[in-house]
Structure formats: structure tokens, C-alpha cells
Subunit: 393 residues, 2 copies
């Protein structure tokens, strides 16, 4: 059976290991530390640095395919490995669109895909010009390395923008700006694609962000019109095809109201790997995104993306300011006592404020109720308190 090397050691790699076990595969990790989320649960672990070519070479030796749990492996190293015959999926030409926000937007605009107005910022003058062009509705972004709300700023005055840009450019950070979208909500359209060109999109989900971090995903997106859902799904497939993405692609979308009062979409970000907004597939779909990612990078046929329940809600377990005294194991007990159907997924990570340490999936037929219960469960796992005042008997 094939060996897949995953470059990275976080929860995404950990959840790929879950699926690799059932598929009879061996997964090999390039991990930064033996106690990292994924390395805790895998037998074949290479400890090393994903920016070090020699470490990468050790991790990929003999692998049938090499893939990622993050976007931060240097492009030049990937090109070197490919030159040495390594099967890297997705390849660097696709991946650069998930690594560099400006490259991605230029590419999508070229394809005619909907993106908000944007500009490269090479100077303070560029920033001032963009401020005027969009009437101050500016979202400033670092081109590379941002995630979970980090590397994104919303300056409230031209002066603030000017100071920020001067400071960040002075520190050598490549920048871009985008027109702030008056969004009604965020959506996520996910799809898997194989090197042979097979594609399988999942239902479009609603994604709820808090403080720039994904807090919930609801599948299918409530109240989404069939027309807009198809458009979002088709867009994700087209982007996967045009960019040559392999494995799982997440297209994060803004939903907004257009000039005619109609709902419309624009692309926010791309991720080329399993994505937080796809965790619901573990318990609400025939094929989870982690299984599908492994199948896709190996150029296997893709699995069915049919949901197994009318609605599935994923709520993230995000570390709070402090970790309650009640141990996590006791908190899971309390959640299961109240909600026996809750599917709790924990990443083996220690508590840190805002850190993603797990998620809860809940399936049902009543969207508001399922959503409320998933929120309550996730909140309890963080705070050891029921947000609705519930007291166990």
C-alpha cells in the first residue's frame, strides 16, 4: 500500500492519519516535534524543519505522494524535490496561489473569477491612492504567511493606513490592499481534484468567523439559493481546474448584496489542503475531507460527497483566556451526558488563548437547534460552563 508523506504536524495531518489507518496506508510525517498534534498518533515520524531541504529529502524518500498540512514550505525546495522525481501534490505552481494573496488575486481576476478590487502596495503612495479609490474601505493584508486573522488590518483613517504601511514595508513585509466587502456572511466552497482531473465538490457551507478565526461551519449553508450554491460550487471546480489544484481546495467566499439587491459572491481566500470549514464532513458526509485528500493526492477515484444528515454543524473549540480547572476529559463527559450524539474531536494540544484545540460536529434535521447545541457543546469544552445556564441533575 502507498506511503503518503505529510509535511506538517498539526491537527490536519493528525486527522489525515485517522483516515490513512482505515485505508490501510502508511502516513509519514515531517514534524517539528515528537509531541506535536500529529506526531503523537503516528508511527512513522521524521523530526525536522520544513524549510530545510535536507530534512524535506529525508521525509519524502520513497513516498508515493507528498502533501501538506500548511502552505509554508518554500516553493524553491518543492521545485528541487520535483526535479529529483518526488510526486508533490499540489504542485508549487498551484500552491503559490494559496501562499501569496496578491498572486492569487491577479490570477483569479485574469480568469474572470469574482474578487473584490485590490492593489499591490509597494509604497505609502500606493496605499493612499487605493484609500481614495475605495473611499476608505480598505483591508490591508500581508501577501504571505497570514492566517486566522493574523496579517490582516482594517485601518480606520488614512493616517493610520499610512503609518501601518510605512511600518510594515519598512520591516520588509510584502503588502496588498483589498476593498472591504460589505458582506452579509461568509461561505466556503470545497472541492477535491485529482492529478488526472477528476473533481468532487462538497455542499457549500456557511462559515462563521469570530476575531478572524473560524468559529462555526454549517452544512448546507442555510437559506442559500440553489442558483448561488451552484455558482459557488462551479466556481470552486473551475478554480481547481484552472489553477491545477490537486487534493482538497477550500474557496472561502464573501456573500454580499449587489447593486440590484441580489445576493452575490466574491472570493476571499484559497487553501489547498483540508480546511477548518470542511471538518463537518467527518461526521456528516459519506467521504470526509481527510480521506478525500489522501485519495486525491494519490490520483485515486474520489468518494461520494453526499451528506449523511439533513444538517451538520461544526463548532470549533478555541482556547479561552484561561483553562478551567475541570480537566478536559471531565468536560467531554459532561458534553456527552447532555448531548449523546455530539462528535467530539480533540487535537492533543495544550490550552492557549484562541488556539484551535478541537471541534464538535453535530448532525440533525433542525438547523437552529443543531447549531445551538454544537455551540453549547464547544463553549462548554472551553469554559466548563453551560452558556444557557443549564445545570446537570
Amino acid at each position: 500500500m502507498p506511503v503518503v508523506t505529510v509535511l506538517g504536524d498539526g491537527q490536519l495531518a493528525r486527522m489525515m492519519q485517522t483516515e490513512a489507518i482505515e485505508l490501510g496506508q502508511s502516513i509519514r510525517l515531517l514534524a517539528g516535534a515528537p509531541d506535536s498534534s500529529a506526531a503523537q498518533v503516528a508511527a512513522d515520524v521524521v523530526i525536522g524543519d520544513y524549510t530545510d531541504l535536507e530534512d524535506l529529502r529525508r521525509a519524502v524518500a520513497g513516498a508515493d505522494a507528498v502533501t501538506f498540512d500548511h502552505e509554508h514550505v518554500p516553493t524553491e525546495h518543492l521545485r528541487t524535490l520535483i526535479g529529483e522525481g518526488v510526486n508533490v501534490q499540489p504542485g508549487p505552481d498551484a500552491l503559490v496561489n494559496a501562499q501569496d494573496k496578491l498572486v492569487m488575486r491577479k490570477k483569479l481576476r485574469e480568469l474572470g473569477a469574482p474578487v473584490p478590487p485590490f492593489a499591490a502596495l509597494e509604497s505609502v503612495a500606493d496605499a493612499e491612492e487605493f484609500w481614495d479609490a475605495v473611499d476608505g474601505a480598505v483591508c490591508l493584508k500581508t501577501r504571505r504567511g497570514g492566517y486566522d486573522g493574523k496579517g490582516v488590518w482594517f485601518p480606520s483613517s488614512k493616517e493610520e493606513l499610512r503609518d501601518l504601511v510605512a511600518d510594515l514595508l519598512g520591516r520588509g513585509m510584502p503588502l496588498m490592499a483589498e476593498k472591504k466587502v460589505a458582506l452579509t456572511r461568509e461561505l466556503s466552497a470545497m472541492v477535491a481534484r485529482t492529478p488526472s482531473g477528476r473533481t468532487a465538490p462538497w455542499p457549500v457551507v456557511e462559515s462563521v468567523q469570530r476575531n478572524g478565526v473560524c468559529a462555526e461551519a454549517v452544512s448546507p449553508a442555510p437559506g442559500l439559493s440553489g442558483e448561488l450554491g451552484s455558482r459557488a460550487r462551479d466556481l470552486s471546480v473551475r478554480i481547481a481546474e484552472e489553477l491545477g489544484v490537486t487534493g482538497v481546495l477550500a474557496v472561502e467566499l464573501f456573500e454580499f448584496t449587489d447593486a440590484n439587491g441580489q445576493p452575490d459572491i466574491a472570493v476571499n481566500e484559497l487553501a489547498m489542503r483540508p480546511h477548518n470549514t470542511g471538518h463537518w464532513t467527518q461526521d456528516g458526509c459519506v467521504t470526509s475531507q481527510f480521506e478525500q485528500h489522501l485519495r486525491a493526492v494519490l490520483d485515486y477515484p474520489l468518494g461520494s460527497t453526499e451528506p449523511t444528515a439533513p444538517v451538520t454543524v461544526m463548532a470549533n473549540v478555541l482556547g479561552a483566556d484561561s483553562d478551567p480547572e475541570l480537566p478536559m476529559a471531565r468536560r467531554t463527559v459532561d458534553v456527552w451526558t447532555r448531548f449523546p450524539e455530539a462528535k467530539i474531536h480533540l487535537y492533543g494540544k495544550t490550552h492557549r488563548p484562541g488556539r484551535k484545540i478541537g471541534h464538535v460536529n453535530l448532525s440533525g434535521s433542525d438547523e437552529p437547534r443543531t447549531r445551538r447545541e454544537a455551540q453549547l457543546a464547544a463553549h462548554y469544552l472551553v469554559h466548563a460552563v453551560w452558556a444557557d445556564g443549564f445545570v446537570a441533575e
Copy 2:
């Protein structure tokens, strides 16, 4: 988060690791070899012999609970470990009923649970007497260590019985005999129970054996009357309670027609661990038997045992006389190409005739069709040939 030690290294331990990962737990294995099915996919592996007390002590040190993927750990060692404060689930007093077929039958008869007529065989004379008592309908069984049709004989004459019993007793094998049941089919009633006494039964499934080995399980058992289904489920719960079972219990049942022409059930065997007839729960039930087993032995609340599809069929992938040239990875590709909704589970085991090397789960709404497709998929994974003559385009 808690550490659970699993004594054993087969596919049941492997599939527990899948669930332990998602629950954020650490699983520790006592494995016979580093390349065994479960040890391939776990980080925390103690290599040792489960009949050696010192090896057992190394494997259980610091564990929150200790459980099994087979029944063969010596009872006296378990008692010693418990005396040293180790939390063994299920405990030896329950487990002996899954280890010794005579002890189990005596216990069940005492409880008034339905078991076929049986007798201990201490001598050839005992065997002859039993032959006469049941008019030659004799099933001869070794009391301990039998599995998958091994350790079971159906002698066709009194002389054959006599020779067999003389030979086996001469080799020191403890024996019993049971009246051969004119069964209509086999069923399996599974339940999980916690040390605190919570129980959660699954739907009763039909189990199909070939050459003494489980070949298929169909959930729910087709055409099973609500009354008989309830009786089987209640029986499994009662056995779990009366025997003090913790973790997952499988009650293998014979269905037969009674003197009044009505369907009835009798207990065939017990297993106190996840069981082949429960593999369908991985893809057809809110809570899989592997997750439930871990939750049960830790005395956590049990998960919902609601099915997620109208019917789910599990078909075993059993090694044939020879392994086809087409690599297993290609066979999985062919199965998924034909049946994108097939859930393939492989155990990382090499081919050997009759060996359980994986299984396929398929969910659907049409029982005969789902069953046929699961059979076709499992057959293809073994033979690299479609049993219905299908030729891929």
C-alpha cells in the same frame, strides 16, 4: 487526556487507534511485533508477550484503563494486575465467560438465557452419552482458544466423535459438546456497558458465516420481527449486566424455528471487545463500536447508537488461495471507480488464505442491492475479478 492500554495488536486495536486519535486520547499497545496491524499506526507501542506478566506490567504502567483486542490474556495475570491497582476493563470475572465456552454456557443456563443443550466432556464415555442424548446432532468444541471456525468440529458418526474426543483429550484439550442447532440464520446483538452500569445496545444484525468465518453483517437484520429484535437486544443488555461486562459485548445468536413454527433465538458465543459483526457501525451509525468501546472502558457516557442510513452492509475481505498480481492499491481504485460510496477499511496485513485483511462497508436504502454491491466489492478486493462479470470501460 486519558491513556488507554490495549493488550493486542490486531485490526481491532488498529481501529481503536483511529477513534482514539479523534477523541484526543493516547492509546498504548502491547504488541507482539512492530509491524503488526495496530503497531504500524500507533506512536506508543510496547513490544512484548501478553502471556508474560512483566511485559504486561510495562504496557499498563500509568494507564487510565486497560482493555483487549482478544480474549487470550491469562486470567491469573489480570488478577495480579488488578491487585496492583490496574483498571482492567472488562475484568477477569466477566472475561472468563468469553474465554471458556463451558463456563459461559453454565452461567447463561443459570441465568435462564437460551442456550442449546450442552455437556462437559471429560471422557469418551461422556461424548457417547451426549451423542445418544441429542440423536447424533453433536457440535464438539474446544473450551478455550478457538476462533473463526477453529476448535469446532461436526463429527458425522459416533465413531468419528469417539476418535476425535480420544485424540483431543489425549492432547490435554478441555472439551465440551453442544447440540447442533438447525438454524435458519445467525444474528448478532451488540451492546456497550460502562463500569457505572450504563448500557447502549446497537440494532441487531444478521451475520453470515462462511467456513466458520464471518463473511457479512447486515444492519438491521432483514425481516427480523420487532418482537424478536427486542428480545435479542434485551438479552444482550441482560447478559452484559449479569456478567458484569464492560466495554463492547457481542452476543452471537442462532435464529431457528421452534416446535410451534415460530422464530426463536439461542446464544452461540460471546465476545467482550469490538467484534467483526459490529464493523458496520464505523460508517452506518452515529457511534462506532471502537469509539464506544473506548468510552465504555473509561466509564464515559455512551454515544448514540442510531443508524445513519436505512441499511448498512459489511463484507469481509478474506485472503483467497492466492494473491492476485494486481496490487491491492489498484484493486481499491477499481472498487471506488465502480462504487464511489464504498467505504474500504484495510488492516495493513499481508495476504494469507482465509485471513481477515480488511472489510467494506456500504450504506443504502435497498437491502438486496447494497448487500450485492458490498459482496462484489469485497470479492474484487480479494480476487481482482468482478464476480458478476462486470467489465470496466
